[in-house]
Structures are given as C-alpha cells and as structure tokens.
C-alpha cells in the first residue's frame, strides 16, 4: 500500500530535478530545509530521525541535494522526507513536507479491533513492517 503523506503524495514519485525545483522554491521563500528519515511511517509518528541539522542560509538546492544523496546511500530502503521550516514570523513552523524516497515494497497497515466493555470496539492501526521486525530491519530485503 502506497503511503500518502505530505505534499505531492498522490502524484507519481518526484524525480531529482523536480525535487530540486521544489527545494529551490522553499529557499526562495527563505525557509530552512531539513531532511528526515524513518522506517516507522505511521501517520501519527511525527518524530522522524533527523539527517543532520536543518540547513539555514542556503541559496541553491545543490547543497540539499548533496545531503539527500548521502542520506539515500546510507538508507537505501527507508522513507525519506524533506521539510521546509518557515522562521520568518519568529516561530518555526513546517510550511512544506514531502516524501522523496520510499522502500520498494510497502506492506501497508492493518486495522486492529479491540473489543472492550459492552461489546464496544476500539480501532487502531498497525504497520505490517513495524510489526514483523525491529527498527533498522523493517524494510531491508
């Protein structure tokens, strides 16, 4: 099941040229760009791992693309996203976030139904990948 999170996730995967163009847009707005990765893509998991610090004062996407290449090399089968922070108002907030790499096989999520008092049902979601292996071994083939 293809995971859809952030901008452009209903489109085909962005090519590197398209990614660079999006980063260029972010830099033109004076946003700081950060790279994050995870192998726990649950929609409520907001704490992805940071790949280095957010990059401030950049003028050209080449710097971010270099870091992205390094991150992909280190983590070939994992989710990677790019976040753009806007600090121009004095608070820091994510203005844009999009996935730039996903594993080849995405097993998706299952619904867990928990029966509680009075035959009430509680629904929750669990990723198959997370359920079957510990962190670091979830998507490696």
């Amino acid at each position: 099941m293809r995971i859809t999170q952030g901008c452009f996730s209903f489109l085909p995967d962005l090519t590197d040229t398209q990614i660079a163009a999006q980063i260029n847009y972010c830099l033109e707005q004076n946003w700081a760009v950060a790279i994050e990765f995870t192998d726990d893509p649950h929609p409520r998991n907001t704490y992805w791992n940071m790949w280095g610090l957010p990059m401030f004062d950049l003028r050209d996407p080449a710097g971010v693309m270099g870091e992205l290449r390094a991150c992909r090399e280190a983590n070939p089968e994992i989710y990677i996203r790019i976040n753009a922070f806007d600090s121009t108002k004095g608070w820091e907030t994510v203005r844009m976030s999009f996935i730039v790499q996903r594993p080849t096989a995405e097993p998706g999520f299952r619904v867990i139904r928990q029966e509680t008092q009075g035959r009430k049902l509680r629904y929750t979601m669990e990723s198959y990948a997370v359920g079957r292996a510990p962190e670091g071994a979830r998507y490696s083939a």
């Binding site: 004062d57 003028r59 050209d60 996407p61 080449a62 270099g66």
Partner: protein, 300 residues
C-alpha cells in the same frame, strides 16, 4: 501530428551580440571605472571573461569543450582589492551562466576548521552548502595548512574542499586569497590544490598617486572633499604612511580618512561657530597634518 523539428545549430554566431546579451560588458566597464589602477588584474579578468564567452559559443556550435575549471587564486598584499574583484568576478560568472546565483560567501580558517575531533567536517560542509551556486572566497587560505602541527584539523578541511572542487565544479567556484609568498608555500605543500586552480591573478600594490585618487573617491562617496592644501598634505601623508609597518594599501587609506573625519568633526565642534555645508564637507590641511605620522617624521 508532426513533432516540431529541432532547430539546426547556427553556423555563425555574432560574438558582439553574444557579449551584449550576456550583459558582462557593463560589469567589465564598471570594474574598469570603479577600481583605480590594477591594470594587470583588469586584463586578466577580461581574458577570463572572454574565454568563458568563447567557450559558451563553442558549445552552441557543438564543439565540445571540457567544462572549464574556474577556481582561482588571488594573491597580493592586504587592501589591494581582492574581495572587491571577487564580487565582480561572481557577477561575471553569474551573467555568463557559469554560476547559478552569483553570491559570494567570504570565509576564513575559523569558519572552516573545527576545534575538536569531528567538528571540522560538518563545519566545512555547512559552509560549502551555503556557497553552492555561488563563489566561496577563502581569505588567507594558507592558514588552513599548518605544517608545524600534524594533528591540525586544517588538513581535513582541505581534503573536503578538494573533493568538492573536483566533483561539483558546476555547483561552486572557489577563490583562494592571500599574500603571494605564503600562498606559494601553501600550494607547494598542497599540490592537489594547485593543480585544481586554473587562474592565478596577482594584485600589485597601489602607487602613491593611485592611493591619492582612491582617497578622493572614498571621500566623494561619503560627501566629503579635501581642499587643495589638504590634498597635497595627504600626498605627503601617503609617503610617510607607506614607510610604516602594517601598511595595507586602500584599507590604510580608509582608516586614515576615518580619523581625519573625526578630527574635522572635533574641530568644527570646538570652534562653536555656525557651520554651512561647505565647512561640513571640507577636510582641511590641519585635519590631515594632525596625524601622528607627521609628528613622528618631525621628531625622527
């Protein structure tokens, strides 16, 4: 439906039009106009600009040229205009399309080299990322290499720099700057660096009359001027100042002018008289002659 036919490569290209379209003419002109002296530097900059323009035209005609190496080294004494020319160079590279943004990131050893193990690489990489698409200007580059301390982290910064200078030539142009003799020694001990730098430009010292002209231009820029006696006194001042240690060409001139402005302000303030625009803009002989260099010359 027919696909649109690809335009055939033109057989002739008008170099003059190409030159005008790139808009480098005005940059070169303003370089010529705004900077006093520096004839060999201006010549070299023109040569480089011409080479890049011709290269670009050759590419359009399908004559393959290797992507030219653009890294440069600017050598010369302090205050001879290295940083200023670097800014203009970035502008020229930008207009010719060899540099996507044309901004200049000026750094020294402190910005590249860390203080403890593992600190240098991220620091250098961060600076490189900021300079991507523009020009990285490393002032006093020879401080990166400290042969007397083999544990110095400068070597690590040099290695990262070399790697980027080689692999990301179209993302970044590096300009190293510093004193001529020390740069020479730096290149001798880092042959890898030397071989990756295509253009060496040497900045000569300014002559006394050029410094006088620079002083007048600086003052004009701040809406000040010398009266006649002050100007000839300033000529004497330049001769005296040049003999002292730590003479830094145009930078020394600017500092001297700053001090003369201070003295002028104090003189006006203490005279207590009403002032007009004339008095406020004129630096007189007494403001110049109050400099300690004149007193030292008299005493010695």
């Amino acid at each position: 439906m027919n696909a649109p036919e690809k335009a055939p490569a033109p057989a002739r290209i008008d170099l003059g039009a190409e030159f005008r379209d790139a808009g480098i003419g005005e940059v070169l002109e303003s370089l010529e106009r705004d900077l006093v002296g520096l004839a060999p530097v201006k010549r070299r900059v023109r040569e480089i600009a011409a080479l890049l323009l011709v290269d670009r035209v050759r590419q359009r005609l399908g004559l393959t040229t290797e992507q030219p190496s653009l890294h440069m080294s600017f050598t010369g004494n302090p205050g001879t205009g290295k940083t200023t020319v670097a800014m203009r160079m970035a502008e020229i590279l930008h207009r010719l399309g060899y540099c996507r943004r044309g901004h200049v990131v000026a750094v020294t050893r402190d910005d590249l080299v860390g203080q403890y193990i593992g600190h240098t690489a991220p620091k250098t990489k961060e600076v490189l990322k900021r300079a991507m698409g523009g020009v990285l200007f490393i002032d006093e580059a020879y401080y990166l290499y400290r042969p007397e301390n083999e544990k110095d982290y400068g070597q690590e910064a040099i290695e990262i720099l070399l790697q980027v200078m080689e692999n990301q030539r179209d993302d970044l142009v590096v300009i190293l700057a510093g004193y001529a003799d020390r740069m020479e020694r730096f290149f001798e001990s880092n042959p890898g660096m030397k071989s990756r730098i295509a253009h060496h430009i040497d900045f000569p010292d300014y002559s006394n009359s050029e410094l006088g002209e620079i002083a007048q231009r600086m003052l004009a820029g701040w809406n000040y001027r010398f009266d006649e006696a002050a100007f000839s006194a300033f000529d004497e001042y330049i001769v005296l100042r040049r003999r002292q240690s730590h003479f830094a060409n145009a930078r020394s001139i600017r500092n001297a002018l700053d001090r003369m402005r201070l003295r002028q302000a104090l003189r006006l303030f203490e005279s207590g008289a009403t002032v007009d625009a004339e008095a406020l803009t004129t630096i007189t002989e007494s403001d110049v002659r109050a400099s300690r260099h004149f007193q030292q010359a008299e005493a010695g």
